[in-house]
Symmetry: C2
Subunit: 590 residues, 2 copies
């Protein structure tokens, strides 16, 4: 036995007992005649005492050879600590060591293994085993494990069955790029890794499993942003004989359960907002509701006063930043430059200060009278002391810009509080999006999403313009401005699915080749069904008020898709390529 207790376990009640602990040397303090060592494991830290007086000289000298991160085993007596440490659960006691065994020495780690580390991203990923020893990462891993278990317990209580779907499936061109896997037994042919188990979970509904879920890895070969990983995890769910309302209730229930049982947070019922309303009020389909600053459309009061920029604009829209009328010239210049950066792309920013004395000061005083500005303030519900920001231009673009500005002001004013959770269902998404460049429709959610019942007939028979206005039984769960989950009611009728594929630019042959099995399944008694998938990595991060998913993934890849620790991907042996009937073509450096 390497230990009788772990390093987070000893309390006053253990005083007098002889115990054995194992763990890592966190730090030591050599006081000359006494030496203290903090021994660490996943469960906590226990202070070890080596005293020259009570310890053999040999043992004391051995203790002096210990370095940070050495793995040791000690046996000794639990004694009362003279100066108690209230910060530590074990702070009432210490271990007077009688025996010390060095299980494994350690080189000096390349960064400090403390809550705050001095290691850069690359170093932390290369020495992930050291980074994982840090308490924040251990806490994250344990949180993630608990979140997964609570997900399973809840869904089990709702009669969901967890079913594993295959990882070696078929490549389909719709959606993101697939990772592919050459098949040795079927030369020249490839499997693909699933971007999601979408068609399989639908097949399970046709197969009568009724309620399916899976916490499952998915794969997308996309160019990576800081916040994306080539492999990520989903809580993937599907239900048969179900309406949108029942799905929202079920997964609102799941979300509440998870917040309650991991964070102790009781969430109120989730508000719902249509896609159109979300775009109008926040310029985003994933609004952060932790703060206001809703959009106010000002066309009626701001146009026709001779200010060309506004008069020529499709939309004039603003937000009221409460209590910020004192913004300085410098701050205003700075935020104006911020919205003019290429990433945001606004041409300019109009501001209006609602002074405490009831007067207004704006960047467009030349064109607008105090009465005009009063009308703006009224339209925006502004009070004295508030600051108005107004953007104008093409409606969709302008809304997006103002959304960015609103979020930025939320950040600057500290309105995105970590412990504050504002969930929201966004519903009634458009079914199809017209892409001007590609000259084709794309599925707003995915090709299996059903139009609303009242739109089915129009979809089957309508013209091109009609298609742009079809609504889907599709929904997103948004928390604090992050899309946590998304789903839809699915098509379960062959004819409607064929129509959808046609609208999405599939030839009948392509549709049959790629999804013939699913359309075939619809002919053998497919029930109405629908589902949802939650981004599990993101959910972990959002629940902990963090923005990066990397610290919730044990072994993340960097932005080049590389695992820095094991150094993957890498070249493979020529014989492996031969067995797979493959050749690497000449690599052209870009």
């Amino acid at each position: 036995m390497y230990r009788t207790h772990n390093c987070g376990e000893l309390r006053a009640e253990h005083i007098g007992q002889t115990v054995t602990l194992s763990g890592w040397v966190q730090r030591d303090r050599d006081k000359g005649f006494m030496m203290f060592v903090d021994l660490r494991d996943r469960y906590g830290i226990t202070q070890l005492l080596f005293s020259e007086e009570k310890t053999s000289k040999e043992l004391f000298e051995k203790a002096r050879t210990l370095g940070r991160e050495f793995v040791i085993q000690v046996t000794g007596t639990v004694i009362e600590r003279v100066s108690k440490n209230k910060e530590l659960p074990t702070g009432d006691v210490e271990l007077e060591v009688k025996e010390l065994s060095i299980l494994n020495p350690a080189k000096v780690p390349p960064f400090t293994i403390e809550d705050e580390t001095d290691g850069g991203d690359d170093l932390r990923m290369k020495y992930r085993y050291l980074d994982l020893r840090r308490t924040p990462l251990q806490r994250n891993m344990i949180f993630r494990s608990k979140l997964a278990l609570e997900t399973r317990k809840y869904l089990d209580s709702q009669q969901f069955v967890e079913i594993e779907t295959p990882f070696l499936i078929k490549s389909t061109p719709e959606g993101a790029r697939d990772f592919v896997v050459p098949s040795r037994m079927n030369p020249g042919q490839f499997y693909a890794l699933p971007q999601s188990p979408q068609t399989f979970k639908q097949i399970l509904m046709v197969g009568g499993l009724d309620r399916y879920f899976q916490i499952v890895k998915c794969f997308r070969d996309e160019d990576l942003r800081a916040d994306r990983q080539p492999e990520f995890t989903q809580i993937d769910c599907e239900m048969a004989f179900v309406t949108q309302e029942e799905i929202l209730q079920t997964f609102e229930g799941l979300t509440k359960h998870l917040f309650q049982h991991t964070l102790g947070v009781t969430l109120p019922d989730f508000p719902r907002m249509s896609y159109d309303e979300a775009m109008r009020r926040f310029g985003s389909d994933k609004p952060d509701l932790r703060f206001g600053m809703e959009f106010n459309e000002l066309n009626a009061v701001a146009q026709g006063k001779g200010f060309n920029v506004f008069d020529a604009a499709e939309l004039v829209v603003g937000i009221c930043v409460p209590g910020q009328a004192e913004y300085t010239r410098k701050q205003l210049d700075e935020i104006t430059n911020w919205v003019k950066r290429p990433q945001i792309g606004a041409k300019g920013l109009v501001y209006v200060k609602c002074n405490e004395d009831g007067s207004f000061k704006s960047s467009v005083d030349k064109f607008f009278s105090q009465e005009d500005l009063q009308a703006w303030a009224d339209a925006m519900g502004a009070k004295a002391g508030d600051l108005l920001f107004v953007l104008s231009g093409e409606a969709e673009k302008t809304r997006k810009q103002l959304n960015e500005l609103r979020l930025e002001m939320g950040r600057r004013l500290g309105l995105m509080k970590a412990g504050d959770f504002k969930p929201l269902w966004v519903v009634d998404f458009p079914l199809l999006e017209w892409d001007e460049d590609a000259e084709r429709f794309f599925a707003m959610h995915h090709p299996f999403t059903s139009p609303k019942k009242e739109d089915v007939e129009r979809m089957l028979t309508g013209d091109h313009e009609t298609m742009k206005n079809l609504r889907a039984d599709a929904y997103d769960l948004v928390i604090n401005g992050s899309e946590i989950g998304g789903g839809s009611i699915r098509i379960y009728d062959r004819k409607l699915q064929e129509r959808n594929f046609k609208l999405l630019g599939f030839t009948p042959e392509e549709a049959e080749d790629q999804f013939g099995f699913l359309m075939g399944a619809f002919e053998y008694g497919a029930p109405p069904h629908g589902g949802i998938a939650f981004g599990f990595d993101r959910l972990c991060a959002v629940m902990n008020g963090q923005s990066s998913i990397r610290d919730f993934i044990a072994f993340p890849k960097n932005n080049q898709g590389r695992d820095m620790m094991i150094d993957a991907p890498s070249a493979i042996a020529e014989e492996q390529l031969e067995e797979l009937n493959l050749e690497v073509t000449e690599i052209v450096e870009e």
Copy 2:
């Protein structure tokens, strides 16, 4: 709402209520003026009644159009059933239908959707959604889900953390063949899909996570046998600061928990047997202990009597088949031919009948007197009425052959009872196996397995012969002759790991290139650790007394590694290959 209740829910207490059900038409019986329909879903079957008397003519006619596997929704009144069906939980009631809606019609299924189906393997895999509707498969999927949840609950209660390890890792030549995944972002380089998370779970121990588990897919590109799949599922576990004894205790605990909470079976403590003993007593490292017929070595009593076959043999060994002395000439010929088949490869089979009158009749009466045979019977603990089978030859081969014969006799005599569970720990495996053909050592478990403490010094300094006799802290969990799990205490010292790689034929460069990260991790404070992995698919099958894992996998692949339903693998687009810097070489048909 598609339903107020499911099809397994209605009882006498619901009589008089108006309810709505949805489901599949299992069968109908048209009695002319009355029609009965069995409506099925995952939860059960409810009888629907359409009566000409009480139903509109229109509704009755509509009911007559229903076919098998139609998906329908019905609303009606729960009434008492005249002839109750005691077989069905819902058998006290039926639903007098008032409204019928056909949600989706169905073509005639290509095989019957009943407990026993007439569909062949290929057809069942192609129409997996229909096969999955059958009760046995639904039961299997639900069992599997419950088994996974109970695994997680138990391991959570033992402070294990479930941590997801990556699927896109690095290819290593040791072990089975990898599936590889070309990297678009790193042209000419490949990821590999993990054969197991072995090195990652060890890294997690170095990372201080202390107790890790994961229910995880693993991948092996091997030629497939009936009961192998290219992707399979493991319960994968690792513990730090742990001895073999603690691991056996923990996972014996898990196994008992699973049997108790899914089958209601209480298992007694598991016996343990060394590898050597298992080979000696059963000729197998995974003996089926549901029945006896242990091996008895007969060299002492059977050699030196002038029977050349025995005299020239390294080993003469037999089993006593209880109560089968009445075996006929025909049966004896048949079983003799059975052991002589190339798959078994015995040269012949010696039998001895222990007659009820105390005399013996054997196939070697020419060479052995009644007294000789009495000595055999004594050595084998045989009684009057028993039948002895004896094989001879080179020891290892002969033991394997007799193992096959023992199992075959167990099958023929019905001694492998489905509800009888006989778990066993096999321990003290050899560390290395010498392969005469390859002229090198192979790891009996895997290259990370530690020799026993007392063998470490011999391993570091011993000669070639010494290496053959090293014992490992390695163990297998065997249930009813199936290997359910296997694991070991790991090496955690760089020097010892380097030595092991060298014995396994790695050059220092190869070892560093493939496993440098792990050996590097050992230098930064690696704790002693060990673990185990359970084959989850097999565990499901064995617990249900079944031999094939396919019926416990929702979407299995066939022996050519193909998914018959989605028709994968398949060719991919030329552009995909180009993006990956790959070319398919000419395919030579064999």
